[in-house]
Symmetry: C2
């Protein structure tokens, strides 16, 4: 019952915002948001939250599942769920309905628009996106369980890593251990990137055998009851040069200082600037080619965004990654990432693996 209670508060929260947004209701196409709001975990569905009713449209594959998973929500079964939701929108006496514009394809929008009757459709973006950024206690518990499962698995996998092992086999070992430990799935395709592959921030694990002298980046996470962990360790294999140590320490310093700056009230752009500043001052600015971090929860990437262009501000209860890196094309890369819970006066690091340079 605990889950259902929390969810009904979430619906209440949406309802409380309808008046200020001037809306009769909001249609949600994003499946993660639907899971957050009513608990449905199927792969197809559209949710309508109105002033006095909540309706989930699903096709015949999901009717029974939707009834089992949700509470306090009408389920309608339709072979065309766009038409089903459009029927509800068109039947409203008048006014406007919002929709989550980042999650609706132009094609589905046209399907809704052509059947909407006299109701206006209003695109919502940040209003909707930011809703999940601040985590409830129950969500924090699940995130912590996810980081614990991930850490236990990596600690076991790391004991087996050494020169000669194949990237793909390491990824498989790690993912298998996470699943055995209770993860539903990996948070994303695990990145296990050695040697020159480590210079690709989003490398896919391949058939390369890791060698003495490599950097080995492992960026991975576990999903527990829908909640994602996200952590990156960079290891040295066999030995490490002074130059490698230098690069590692720059990234480590960027990571540590950015985490030191994380607290409620700070703008996300400023956290990015702290990490980026360290790397730029060391002369490697052009090799840090991505943002510093992102929110994490039911999605592995969600609000807020920690980047140069971000307009978000940290608030108590947000969970964000801090993950600076340096990538020297065709040579190697280093990335160090932790997840932090934003507090009023600092942050709590949720990920578990120590980030001192370790030689395997």
């Amino acid at each position: 019952m605990n889950h259902t209670q929390d969810r009904s508060q979430r619906i209440t929260h949406i309802r409380s915002r309808l008046a200020s947004l001037g809306l009769e209701g909001i249609t949600f196409f994003d499946l993660t948001m639907i899971r957050y709001l009513v608990g449905f975990t199927g792969s197809t569905g559209i949710l309508f939250v109105g002033k006095d009713r909540t309706v989930l449209a699903v096709d015949g594959r999901y009717t029974t599942q939707a009834r089992h998973e949700t509470g306090g929500c009408e389920i309608i079964e339709c072979s065309d769920i766009i038409a089903g939701i459009a029927g509800i929108v068109a039947a409203l006496p008048s006014g406007s309905v919002g929709f989550d514009a980042p999650a609706v394809s132009v094609e589905r929008y046209e399907g809704l628009h052509s059947r909407r009757g006299t109701t206006a459709l209003i695109p919502l973006s940040d209003d909707v996106r930011g809703l999940r950024a601040i985590k409830e206690q129950e969500e924090l518990d699940l995130l912590k369980e996810a980081t614990a499962i991930a850490a236990a698995a990596l600690q076991e996998t790391v004991e087996r890593i050494g020169p000669g092992m194949i990237e793909r086999d390491i990824a498989l070992d790690l993912e298998f251990r996470m699943r055995q430990g209770g993860a539903e799935q990996p948070s994303f395709d695990s990145i296990v990137a050695s040697g020159a592959n480590s210079a690709l921030p989003h490398a896919q694990p391949g058939s390369r055998r890791i060698e003495r002298g490599d950097f080995l980046i492992i960026d991975y996470g576990a999903v527990y009851k829908g909640y994602h962990s996200d952590e990156t360790c960079t290891f040295a294999i066999g030995s490490v040069t002074k130059e490698q140590e230098g690069i590692y320490n720059i990234v480590r310093d960027a990571h540590d200082r950015a985490l030191d700056a994380v607290k409620a009230g700070v703008s996300c752009k400023d956290i990015d600037a702290v990490a980026r500043g360290v790397i730029e001052n060391a002369g490697f600015g052009r090799y840090f080619s991505h943002g510093t971090g992102h929110g994490v929860g039911l999605d592995v990437h969600e609000a807020p965004k920690l980047s140069k262009e971000s307009t978000d501000r940290l608030e108590e209860g947000m969970v964000v990654t801090v993950e600076p890196g340096i990538y020297i094309p065709d040579v190697y890369g280093v990335r160090i990432e932790d997840m932090a819970l934003v507090g009023s006066n600092g942050c709590e690091i949720l990920t578990r693996i120590p980030k001192d340079l370790r030689i395997l």
Copy 2:
């Protein structure tokens, strides 16, 4: 070089259609289509195919990877890839550019639209979607390898299945064996559904222990070099009642007759009607709550669609699933699924597991 050659033919094919569509070019947002056309496998990118240039816009995380993976394609690195592609669209002398409307969110569309200059944006749907339906020989080889990996894994897993095993452990064992056998990943979250769970067409494997007298549905697949297999077996556990055998045989008959009807020139709606007719005639029509099948390739669900409403027609070289089922809520369900390559005079079944009722 083989891959690159095939891909350049695909680009040539797109170009050859620009004139008849009245377009200066097409922007592709769908990552699977981008992989198909230029080989890029990253998680963010937009492709423009014009009359005389092909441009892939990526952010800094993917620049090096995009250069490695693609050939004959300009790579532009931009922190905002929508703006990057919009710049190319706006710089065209005049005319119209198509976009893949099912893959573009309303938000991204607005970003492109506001910066498009005087160029018109034309939504494309079926024109683009159907492009990958007919498989080339190289693609068929990869699909066959995917089905072989999947079958070998299930055959091993099945040897271990019996009363008392937990659904989730079966899924993990199966997925681990597929990965060991060379799969990049499962085609989707494997469905391992026993007892009343088998009545949920898209059940998630849970902590239920399978029991004597259950039906056990396993719907799963392997991804090999991007290509997906998709197959469903329903097993009986320990024993089987006459009633269960009856239901199984109805689904089996629907499956067999639909496959017998698969050949080039037949409308997809008619294949659905064959399977549905068998189940309806047996009095279980309301318990077959989904379409009969779908195309499969780089996506696990792609064109064509085998359903009541489909307007597609089978053509030689398409690969489709045939997967009728009967689901009696809170009791049990049966689904039987194979993948078939459409030929001029029949079909070749690509999946490997025999579909006679087997008691484990």
